[in-house]
């Protein structure tokens, strides 16, 4: 089989090999040697030796790095297309040789090859199909022919039990993305020449950034087939080719569409820093007087802006120079419509962010009031959304206030801002944060900045309501 001269891309002396460093570890008559020489010659002809990175799989070709004077990575079983994806995403100008056997690619690695092909990764995959697990001693491969005897099919492969052989070139060709899909063989001089052409095309496609190339090569394994070298080649010609037709399935070279890089430009450090800090401008206010950490729970249902109300409160507390923690209700219940968030503000570092006994409860619907009202600390405060809540509180050791938050938010045409009304009420009624800092923090807390003015007006409405209804004459007026 030694019909192709050696290449400068292959070492002349295999120093990484233990034992005889003049010969390869492949068996006489094996297809790997001749295919690997063809790949080396193509790399040499394309002048990309320095850019080439060879991915050795698990299988007989695991030691390909003994021979290739290129960059080398040994990959885990079946995962070379994922490893290659990683390499190419870092080094788009590298030339990655993804060299895989049939157990590796069509068995354990089916997921990786399908998805790499489907993404159109800039890879050249050589799929060496000898219909057997060679390195482990000749077990059934996904490509083993029907009735073929192997160590794990001692009476022959049966479709009813083992399924039928997988024709990978056809599978890959069924995808839209691949640029080049072809099946070849190394069974005769004619087929060797065709294989050499395919190898060259596959690698050149990668250099030209045309996309994903997949070259399946029917290759002899005399040792495990228990045949002579000549019988093995005849087996490919007379038997394997019947099931695995040699042809070009996909060839998009004539379209010559170079895959474009649509990514955002690489940011420098200053740009990165400004992206990560957002558009916050430094603000700080007189710290309000809080004598101990305060816990505020805002609870209601999804769509009332519960979480963003909490964010507004937390941002505002942070602007006062306070430490703050914000912890939402968590888990599947979030998808069931209930929503709550617990915000703790403190003038010192907050230990546990989990506090089930709030100082302030902002209850935005009936069920949440019922759930939380008895957890509020003695002397604490409950503010209810009076549009939706007219339940009895049943406690005389807490302060209770009501504000029609939903109605106000609807009137302002921002129904999702009902929580803004509640948080504003809290600011007016307590010393946790000031209304001024709440207003100043609104911009940083809003997802939809175009609603800034509407939210600001809503805050004024809420502030006026609380002031005129509760603060002017009767501070502790109850609902």
């Amino acid at each position: 089989m030694n019909t192709i001269e050696t290449s400068s891309v292959l070492y002349t002396h295999y120093e990484r090999k233990e034992g005889n460093q003049q010969t390869t570890h492949y068996c006489p008559g094996c297809g790997h040697g001749v295919i690997q020489k063809m790949i080396a010659s193509a790399i040499e002809e394309l002048g990309v030796q320095n850019r080439a990175i060879f991915l050795s799989p698990v299988g007989c070709s695991v030691f390909s790095y003994y021979y290739y004077d290129t960059g080398n990575i040994q990959c885990s079983h079946g995962r070379a297309p994922a490893v290659g994806t990683g390499v190419k995403r870092v080094l788009p100008d590298s030339v990655v040789v993804c060299y895989q056997g049939d157990g590796d690619l069509a068995g354990i690695g089916m997921t990786e090859i399908i998805h790499a092909a489907n993404r159109g990764e800039q890879l050249t995959v050589f799929f060496i199909n000898n219909a057997t697990y060679g390195m482990t001693g000749g077990q059934m491969a996904p490509t083993t022919l029907l009735h073929e005897k192997t160590l794990t099919t001692p009476f022959g492969r049966e479709s009813e039990r083992d399924g039928k052989p997988l024709a990978m070139a056809e599978v890959i060709a069924s995808l839209d993305a691949p640029a080049y899909v072809r099946r070849c063989a190394v069974s005769s001089t004619k087929e060797l020449l065709r294989t050499r052409e395919a190898v060259r095309i596959g690698l050149k496609n990668q250099v030209d950034k045309l996309g994903f190339s997949f070259i399946e090569i029917l290759s002899p394994c005399p040792t495990n087939w228990k045949m002579s070298a000549v019988e093995s080649r005849n087996h490919i010609e007379q038997v394997m080719k019947q099931f695995y037709p040699l042809k070009t399935f996909v060839d998009k070279r004539p379209e010559n569409v170079c895959i474009k890089n649509n990514s955002f430009p690489l940011m420098n450090d200053d740009e990165l820093l400004s992206l990560l800090t957002g558009d916050l401008t430094a603000r700080s206010f007189e710290s309000p007087v809080i004598d101990s950490p305060k816990t505020i729970t805002i609870a209601g249902f999804g769509g009332q802006g519960i979480l963003s109300g909490g964010t507004l409160l937390a941002n505002s507390a942070m602007a006062h120079g306070l430490d703050v923690s914000w912890l939402p209700s968590y888990g599947p219940e979030m998808r069931g419509g209930k929503a709550s968030v617990t915000v703790i503000v403190s003038d010192s570092s907050i230990p546990s962010p989990l506090d089930e006994k709030p100082d302030f409860l902002l209850a935005m619907n009936g069920p949440s009031l019922q759930y939380y009202k008895d957890k509020v600390k003695t002397g604490g405060t409950i503010i209810v959304n009076s549009t939706l809540v007219d339940d009895e509180i049943g406690r005389d050791d807490v302060n209770v206030y009501g504000i029609p938050a939903t109605a106000m938010a609807q009137e302002a045409l921002i129904p999702s801002a009902a929580s803004v009304v509640m948080v504003t009420s809290l600011a007016v009624l307590s010393e946790v944060v000031s209304v001024f800092s709440l207003k100043e923090s609104l911009n940083a807390s809003l997802k939809r900045r175009e609603l800034l003015d509407a939210n600001m007006d809503l805050m004024k409405t809420a502030e006026n309501y609380i002031t005129s209804n509760f603060l002017v004459n009767n501070y502790n007026k109850k609902v």
Partner: protein
């Protein structure tokens, strides 16, 4: 520096970018998905790479390839996903490739649920895959440390050529706190062992296979030497009111913050309590544990698992003091009051 209110999950992504990470490969899993969401936004916008892989197995192998190519790389997942990455983690260790992972722990075994547990401790701290290897494991207690630890993880990973795993939990990911993101991006340096698709690096080989037992043995011994160096150089913990303490909690992650509140309440009630908060899990702060154990303090390990971390505490304490476990599983979490009353009862018992 102005602080920004950030969720733990998002803080990790900011930390990664400030730590020079250029490639994030992700796969969705609750409660780690938000990290992928934030990475998809920030990495893409910053002209770095975010790619959603087809599985966690593919993720870890994409990390393997990208790390081979010299990049600072990361992913985030939760227990089931980290388990799937086990073989890949072993390959990374065998090939001495740096990598950063975040494990936002959920309850197991099996599908379990998405509430917090600390039951990935053994899997992550002891290795996770086959072979004699270790990961550096860091345990943040809030959003700021999610940022700080993730940022630092990349230089640790490069320095020791190891995987660094940030072991968080669902609460640490969900909590939003003020975070200082600093102002310096740490890009790292060219690595003399990596592949850059150029002439200078052409000779380099990334592999974990050594055919001769003597070569594989030597490779293993070198790995263990690196781990000994990590133990000396990286071990980190925080002592909170331990100096005069007669009862010391040992905890990490969200539980350490509950214990911190308990320490304050217990001291108000006249009990000298303290907290040894673990910041690194491998290396494990064994000496710190032993020092307290020798003083015959009562150690209470509070942990969201069947006592996985406590095994390491017992080994470190060398049976020289009383060690009591307060364990929760399944997503249950002890309240501050529960830790306080458990401790008071424990001390009362030992007084009689």
């Amino acid at each position: 520096m102005q602080k920004r209110l950030v969720k733990g999950n998002e803080a990790a992504v900011l930390g990664a970018l400030m730590g020079g990470c250029t490639h994030f490969f992700g796969y969705p899993i609750t409660p780690a998905s938000e990290i992928a969401h934030a990475a998809a936004y920030y990495f893409t916008k910053a002209g770095r790479t975010f790619l959603q892989a087809e599985s966690e197995v593919s993720v870890i192998n994409m990390l393997y390839g990208a790390s081979s190519a010299g990049a600072r790389v990361m992913s985030a997942s939760s227990g089931p996903g980290i388990a799937l990455m086990g073989e890949g983690l072993s390959y990374l260790a065998g090939s001495r490739l740096p990598c950063v992972l975040i494990d936002m722990q959920r309850a197991g075994p099996g599908l379990g649920n998405i509430w917090p547990e600390q039951s990935d401790y053994n899997m992550v701290v002891k290795g996770g895959g086959h072979g004699n290897y270790k990961n550096i494991v860091l345990s943040p207690d809030g959003a700021q440390e999610m940022f700080d630890f993730t940022r630092a993880a990349f230089s640790y990973a490069d320095e020791y050529r190891m995987s660094v795993i940030i072991l968080g939990d669902a609460y640490i990911g969900q909590i939003m706190e003020p975070v200082d993101i600093g102002s310096t991006v740490d890009h790292g340096k060219r690595k003399d062992w990596a592949l850059y698709a150029d002439e200078e690096s052409r000779e380099n080989l990334i592999t974990s296979i050594f055919m001769k037992p003597s070569s594989q043995g030597q490779h293993n011994r070198e790995l263990q030497q690196t781990y000994r160096r990590v133990e000396k150089e990286l071990v980190d913990w925080e002592e909170i009111e331990t100096e005069d303490a007669s009862v010391i909690f040992i905890a990490y992650g969200i539980v350490s913050r509950i214990c911190r509140s308990a320490v304050a309440l217990l001291r108000k009630a006249g009990l000298r309590a303290g907290l040894l908060r673990l910041k690194t899990l491998f290396p494990f702060p064994s000496e710190a544990v032993l020092n307290h154990a020798k003083r015959k303090v009562t150690i209470i390990v509070v942990e969201l698992s069947n006592g996985q971390m406590c095994q390491d505490v017992r080994a470190a304490a060398q049976y020289s003091t009383r060690i009591i476990e307060l364990l929760k599983m399944g997503g249950e979490i002890p309240s501050v009051e529960e830790v306080v009353s458990f401790t008071q009862k424990t001390v009362l018992r030992s007084a009689h």
